[in-house]
Symmetry: C2
Subunit: 152 residues, 2 copies
Protein backbone atom coordinates (compact mmCIF):
# COMPACT_ATOMS: atom_id res chain seq x y z
CA UNK A 1 0.00 0.00 0.00
CA UNK A 2 1.14 3.53 -0.79
CA UNK A 3 0.71 6.41 1.66
CA UNK A 4 1.07 10.17 1.34
CA UNK A 5 2.13 11.53 4.74
CA UNK A 6 2.92 15.18 5.53
CA UNK A 7 3.74 17.06 8.76
CA UNK A 8 2.87 20.71 9.41
CA UNK A 9 2.93 22.92 12.51
CA UNK A 10 0.24 25.51 13.26
CA UNK A 11 0.52 28.27 15.85
CA UNK A 12 -2.91 28.03 17.43
CA UNK A 13 -4.87 25.90 19.89
CA UNK A 14 -5.71 22.24 19.32
CA UNK A 15 -9.39 23.28 19.54
CA UNK A 16 -9.07 25.67 16.61
CA UNK A 17 -7.10 23.22 14.47
CA UNK A 18 -9.58 20.44 15.23
CA UNK A 19 -12.50 22.72 14.35
CA UNK A 20 -10.90 23.56 10.99
CA UNK A 21 -10.55 19.83 10.24
CA UNK A 22 -13.86 18.53 11.56
CA UNK A 23 -16.60 21.02 10.71
CA UNK A 24 -18.25 21.87 7.39
CA UNK A 25 -17.43 25.54 7.97
CA UNK A 26 -13.79 24.84 8.83
CA UNK A 27 -13.21 22.52 5.86
CA UNK A 28 -14.81 24.99 3.43
CA UNK A 29 -12.26 27.60 4.47
CA UNK A 30 -9.13 25.72 3.45
CA UNK A 31 -9.94 22.69 1.22
CA UNK A 32 -12.93 23.55 -0.97
CA UNK A 33 -15.57 26.23 -0.57
CA UNK A 34 -18.13 23.66 -1.74
CA UNK A 35 -18.16 21.36 1.31
CA UNK A 36 -21.54 19.88 2.18
CA UNK A 37 -23.00 17.14 4.35
CA UNK A 38 -23.05 16.03 7.94
CA UNK A 39 -19.84 16.20 9.94
CA UNK A 40 -20.78 13.59 12.58
CA UNK A 41 -19.28 10.10 12.91
CA UNK A 42 -20.91 7.63 10.49
CA UNK A 43 -22.18 10.42 8.27
CA UNK A 44 -20.95 11.69 4.89
CA UNK A 45 -19.25 14.89 3.76
CA UNK A 46 -19.10 15.74 0.04
CA UNK A 47 -16.34 17.92 -1.40
CA UNK A 48 -16.76 19.49 -4.85
CA UNK A 49 -13.97 21.13 -6.83
CA UNK A 50 -14.75 23.43 -9.75
CA UNK A 51 -12.72 25.24 -12.35
CA UNK A 52 -12.79 29.02 -12.37
CA UNK A 53 -15.52 28.84 -15.01
CA UNK A 54 -17.72 26.66 -12.78
CA UNK A 55 -17.27 23.19 -14.32
CA UNK A 56 -16.93 20.33 -11.83
CA UNK A 57 -13.29 19.15 -11.88
CA UNK A 58 -13.58 16.64 -9.06
CA UNK A 59 -16.00 15.48 -6.41
CA UNK A 60 -15.48 13.06 -3.56
CA UNK A 61 -17.42 11.85 -0.56
CA UNK A 62 -15.88 10.86 2.76
CA UNK A 63 -17.51 8.85 5.51
CA UNK A 64 -16.47 10.17 8.91
CA UNK A 65 -15.02 7.12 10.60
CA UNK A 66 -13.37 8.54 13.74
CA UNK A 67 -13.52 11.94 15.45
CA UNK A 68 -11.57 12.32 18.68
CA UNK A 69 -11.63 16.00 19.66
CA UNK A 70 -8.17 17.61 19.68
CA UNK A 71 -6.60 14.21 18.86
CA UNK A 72 -7.44 12.61 15.52
CA UNK A 73 -9.82 12.23 12.60
CA UNK A 74 -10.25 9.37 10.15
CA UNK A 75 -12.32 9.56 6.97
CA UNK A 76 -12.94 6.80 4.44
CA UNK A 77 -13.34 7.78 0.82
CA UNK A 78 -16.59 6.25 -0.44
CA UNK A 79 -16.85 7.98 -3.82
CA UNK A 80 -14.61 10.04 -6.08
CA UNK A 81 -11.73 9.24 -8.42
CA UNK A 82 -11.26 5.46 -8.80
CA UNK A 83 -7.82 5.62 -7.18
CA UNK A 84 -9.29 7.31 -4.07
CA UNK A 85 -12.12 4.88 -3.32
CA UNK A 86 -11.27 2.87 -0.21
CA UNK A 87 -8.39 5.13 0.77
CA UNK A 88 -8.30 6.78 4.19
CA UNK A 89 -7.62 10.39 5.12
CA UNK A 90 -6.19 10.83 8.61
CA UNK A 91 -5.24 13.79 10.76
CA UNK A 92 -3.34 13.32 14.03
CA UNK A 93 -2.80 16.31 16.32
CA UNK A 94 -0.22 16.86 19.05
CA UNK A 95 1.28 19.83 20.86
CA UNK A 96 5.04 20.33 20.37
CA UNK A 97 6.86 23.48 21.42
CA UNK A 98 4.46 26.35 20.66
CA UNK A 99 2.74 24.58 17.75
CA UNK A 100 -0.01 22.09 17.07
CA UNK A 101 1.62 19.46 14.89
CA UNK A 102 -0.66 17.84 12.33
CA UNK A 103 0.39 14.54 10.80
CA UNK A 104 -1.73 14.27 7.70
CA UNK A 105 -2.14 10.98 5.87
CA UNK A 106 -3.83 9.91 2.66
CA UNK A 107 -3.33 6.18 3.10
CA UNK A 108 -3.83 2.85 1.40
CA UNK A 109 -3.53 3.78 -2.26
CA UNK A 110 -3.44 0.51 -4.20
CA UNK A 111 -0.38 1.63 -6.16
CA UNK A 112 1.89 4.59 -6.81
CA UNK A 113 0.69 6.33 -9.98
CA UNK A 114 1.35 9.78 -11.42
CA UNK A 115 -1.94 10.95 -9.90
CA UNK A 116 -0.59 10.01 -6.44
CA UNK A 117 2.35 12.37 -7.01
CA UNK A 118 -0.04 15.13 -8.07
CA UNK A 119 -2.20 14.59 -4.98
CA UNK A 120 0.87 14.52 -2.70
CA UNK A 121 1.94 17.97 -3.90
CA UNK A 122 -1.63 19.27 -3.88
CA UNK A 123 -2.23 18.09 -0.29
CA UNK A 124 0.92 19.95 0.80
CA UNK A 125 -0.47 23.14 -0.76
CA UNK A 126 -3.84 22.61 0.97
CA UNK A 127 -2.08 22.07 4.32
CA UNK A 128 -0.41 25.47 3.85
CA UNK A 129 -3.93 26.81 3.20
CA UNK A 130 -5.13 25.11 6.42
CA UNK A 131 -2.36 26.78 8.40
CA UNK A 132 -3.07 30.17 6.84
CA UNK A 133 -6.78 29.83 7.63
CA UNK A 134 -6.23 28.82 11.26
CA UNK A 135 -3.51 31.42 11.91
CA UNK A 136 -4.97 34.37 9.98
CA UNK A 137 -8.64 33.57 9.34
CA UNK A 138 -8.14 33.37 5.57
CA UNK A 139 -7.12 30.23 3.65
CA UNK A 140 -6.98 29.41 -0.05
CA UNK A 141 -9.69 26.78 -0.63
CA UNK A 142 -10.74 25.68 -4.11
CA UNK A 143 -11.51 27.39 -6.47
CA UNK A 144 -9.04 30.01 -5.13
CA UNK A 145 -6.39 27.32 -4.46
CA UNK A 146 -2.79 27.55 -5.65
CA UNK A 147 -2.52 25.58 -8.90
CA UNK A 148 0.47 23.26 -9.06
CA UNK A 149 0.52 21.67 -12.51
CA UNK A 150 -1.44 21.07 -15.75
CA UNK A 151 -3.95 18.89 -13.87
CA UNK A 152 -4.84 21.69 -11.45
CA UNK B 1 10.72 0.85 0.93
CA UNK B 2 9.04 4.23 1.42
CA UNK B 3 9.04 6.92 -1.27
CA UNK B 4 8.14 10.59 -1.27
CA UNK B 5 6.89 11.50 -4.76
CA UNK B 6 5.56 14.90 -5.85
CA UNK B 7 4.48 16.37 -9.21
CA UNK B 8 4.80 20.04 -10.17
CA UNK B 9 4.43 21.94 -13.45
CA UNK B 10 6.69 24.83 -14.43
CA UNK B 11 6.02 27.32 -17.23
CA UNK B 12 9.46 27.45 -18.81
CA UNK B 13 11.72 25.46 -21.10
CA UNK B 14 13.12 22.02 -20.25
CA UNK B 15 16.59 23.59 -20.57
CA UNK B 16 15.88 26.14 -17.85
CA UNK B 17 14.30 23.60 -15.50
CA UNK B 18 17.17 21.18 -16.04
CA UNK B 19 19.70 23.94 -15.38
CA UNK B 20 17.99 24.81 -12.08
CA UNK B 21 18.20 21.14 -11.02
CA UNK B 22 21.66 20.25 -12.23
CA UNK B 23 24.00 23.19 -11.62
CA UNK B 24 25.47 24.55 -8.40
CA UNK B 25 24.11 27.99 -9.27
CA UNK B 26 20.64 26.67 -10.06
CA UNK B 27 20.40 24.55 -6.90
CA UNK B 28 21.60 27.43 -4.69
CA UNK B 29 18.69 29.52 -5.93
CA UNK B 30 15.87 27.27 -4.73
CA UNK B 31 17.11 24.62 -2.25
CA UNK B 32 19.93 26.10 -0.17
CA UNK B 33 22.14 29.10 -0.81
CA UNK B 34 25.05 27.05 0.54
CA UNK B 35 25.45 24.55 -2.30
CA UNK B 36 29.02 23.51 -3.06
CA UNK B 37 30.89 20.88 -5.02
CA UNK B 38 31.11 19.48 -8.49
CA UNK B 39 27.93 18.99 -10.48
CA UNK B 40 29.27 16.35 -12.90
CA UNK B 41 28.32 12.65 -12.93
CA UNK B 42 30.29 10.68 -10.34
CA UNK B 43 31.09 13.80 -8.34
CA UNK B 44 29.68 15.15 -5.09
CA UNK B 45 27.51 18.13 -4.21
CA UNK B 46 27.22 19.26 -0.58
CA UNK B 47 24.15 21.10 0.70
CA UNK B 48 24.31 23.01 4.00
CA UNK B 49 21.30 24.36 5.86
CA UNK B 50 21.72 26.98 8.57
CA UNK B 51 19.43 28.68 11.05
CA UNK B 52 18.92 32.42 10.75
CA UNK B 53 21.65 32.86 13.38
CA UNK B 54 24.15 30.86 11.32
CA UNK B 55 24.21 27.50 13.14
CA UNK B 56 24.33 24.44 10.90
CA UNK B 57 20.91 22.73 11.07
CA UNK B 58 21.59 20.09 8.46
CA UNK B 59 24.16 19.07 5.89
CA UNK B 60 24.01 16.37 3.25
CA UNK B 61 26.14 15.22 0.35
CA UNK B 62 24.78 13.74 -2.86
CA UNK B 63 26.71 11.77 -5.44
CA UNK B 64 25.51 12.64 -8.93
CA UNK B 65 24.54 9.27 -10.36
CA UNK B 66 22.70 10.16 -13.59
CA UNK B 67 22.37 13.38 -15.60
CA UNK B 68 20.39 13.19 -18.82
CA UNK B 69 19.90 16.73 -20.10
CA UNK B 70 16.23 17.81 -20.23
CA UNK B 71 15.21 14.30 -19.11
CA UNK B 72 16.23 13.13 -15.67
CA UNK B 73 18.63 13.35 -12.75
CA UNK B 74 19.48 10.80 -10.04
CA UNK B 75 21.48 11.56 -6.92
CA UNK B 76 22.49 9.15 -4.16
CA UNK B 77 22.72 10.49 -0.65
CA UNK B 78 26.16 9.56 0.72
CA UNK B 79 26.14 11.60 3.94
CA UNK B 80 23.60 13.46 6.01
CA UNK B 81 20.86 12.44 8.45
CA UNK B 82 20.97 8.68 9.15
CA UNK B 83 17.55 8.18 7.53
CA UNK B 84 18.78 9.79 4.29
CA UNK B 85 21.92 7.78 3.72
CA UNK B 86 21.43 5.41 0.80
CA UNK B 87 18.22 7.11 -0.35
CA UNK B 88 17.91 8.45 -3.88
CA UNK B 89 16.70 11.82 -5.11
CA UNK B 90 15.23 11.74 -8.61
CA UNK B 91 13.86 14.35 -11.00
CA UNK B 92 12.06 13.31 -14.21
CA UNK B 93 11.11 15.98 -16.74
CA UNK B 94 8.49 15.89 -19.49
CA UNK B 95 6.58 18.45 -21.52
CA UNK B 96 2.80 18.42 -21.08
CA UNK B 97 0.51 21.18 -22.36
CA UNK B 98 2.44 24.43 -21.84
CA UNK B 99 4.39 23.19 -18.82
CA UNK B 100 7.47 21.21 -17.94
CA UNK B 101 6.25 18.55 -15.54
CA UNK B 102 8.74 17.50 -12.87
CA UNK B 103 8.19 14.22 -11.07
CA UNK B 104 10.31 14.54 -7.96
CA UNK B 105 11.23 11.50 -5.88
CA UNK B 106 13.02 10.98 -2.59
CA UNK B 107 13.09 7.20 -2.71
CA UNK B 108 14.07 4.13 -0.74
CA UNK B 109 13.63 5.31 2.83
CA UNK B 110 14.01 2.22 5.04
CA UNK B 111 10.80 3.04 6.91
CA UNK B 112 8.11 5.66 7.33
CA UNK B 113 9.03 7.81 10.33
CA UNK B 114 7.84 11.24 11.48
CA UNK B 115 10.92 12.77 9.85
CA UNK B 116 9.74 11.34 6.48
CA UNK B 117 6.47 13.27 6.87
CA UNK B 118 8.43 16.44 7.69
CA UNK B 119 10.66 15.97 4.64
CA UNK B 120 7.66 15.26 2.39
CA UNK B 121 6.07 18.59 3.31
CA UNK B 122 9.40 20.40 3.16
CA UNK B 123 10.19 19.04 -0.32
CA UNK B 124 6.81 20.31 -1.54
CA UNK B 125 7.68 23.77 -0.27
CA UNK B 126 11.10 23.63 -1.97
CA UNK B 127 9.46 22.55 -5.25
CA UNK B 128 7.30 25.69 -5.06
CA UNK B 129 10.57 27.60 -4.54
CA UNK B 130 12.03 25.84 -7.62
CA UNK B 131 9.05 26.90 -9.71
CA UNK B 132 9.24 30.47 -8.43
CA UNK B 133 12.95 30.62 -9.23
CA UNK B 134 12.58 29.24 -12.76
CA UNK B 135 9.51 31.34 -13.60
CA UNK B 136 10.49 34.62 -11.92
CA UNK B 137 14.25 34.45 -11.25
CA UNK B 138 13.75 34.49 -7.48
CA UNK B 139 13.21 31.41 -5.30
CA UNK B 140 13.16 30.89 -1.53
CA UNK B 141 16.24 28.75 -0.77
CA UNK B 142 17.43 28.10 2.79
CA UNK B 143 17.90 30.11 5.00
CA UNK B 144 15.08 32.20 3.47
CA UNK B 145 12.87 29.11 3.04
CA UNK B 146 9.27 28.90 4.24
CA UNK B 147 9.28 27.18 7.63
CA UNK B 148 6.67 24.45 8.01
CA UNK B 149 6.83 23.16 11.58
CA UNK B 150 8.83 23.14 14.84
CA UNK B 151 11.66 21.22 13.14
CA UNK B 152 12.13 23.91 10.47
Amino acid sequence: MVNIIHRIGIRSSAENVFKALSTIKGLSNWWTEETEGDERVGEKITFTFRSETGDIKGQMAMEVHELNPQKNIIWRCISGPDEWIGTEITFELSQQDDQIIVIFGHRNWKEQVEFTAHCSMKWAVFLLSLREYVETGKGKPSPRDLKIDNWN
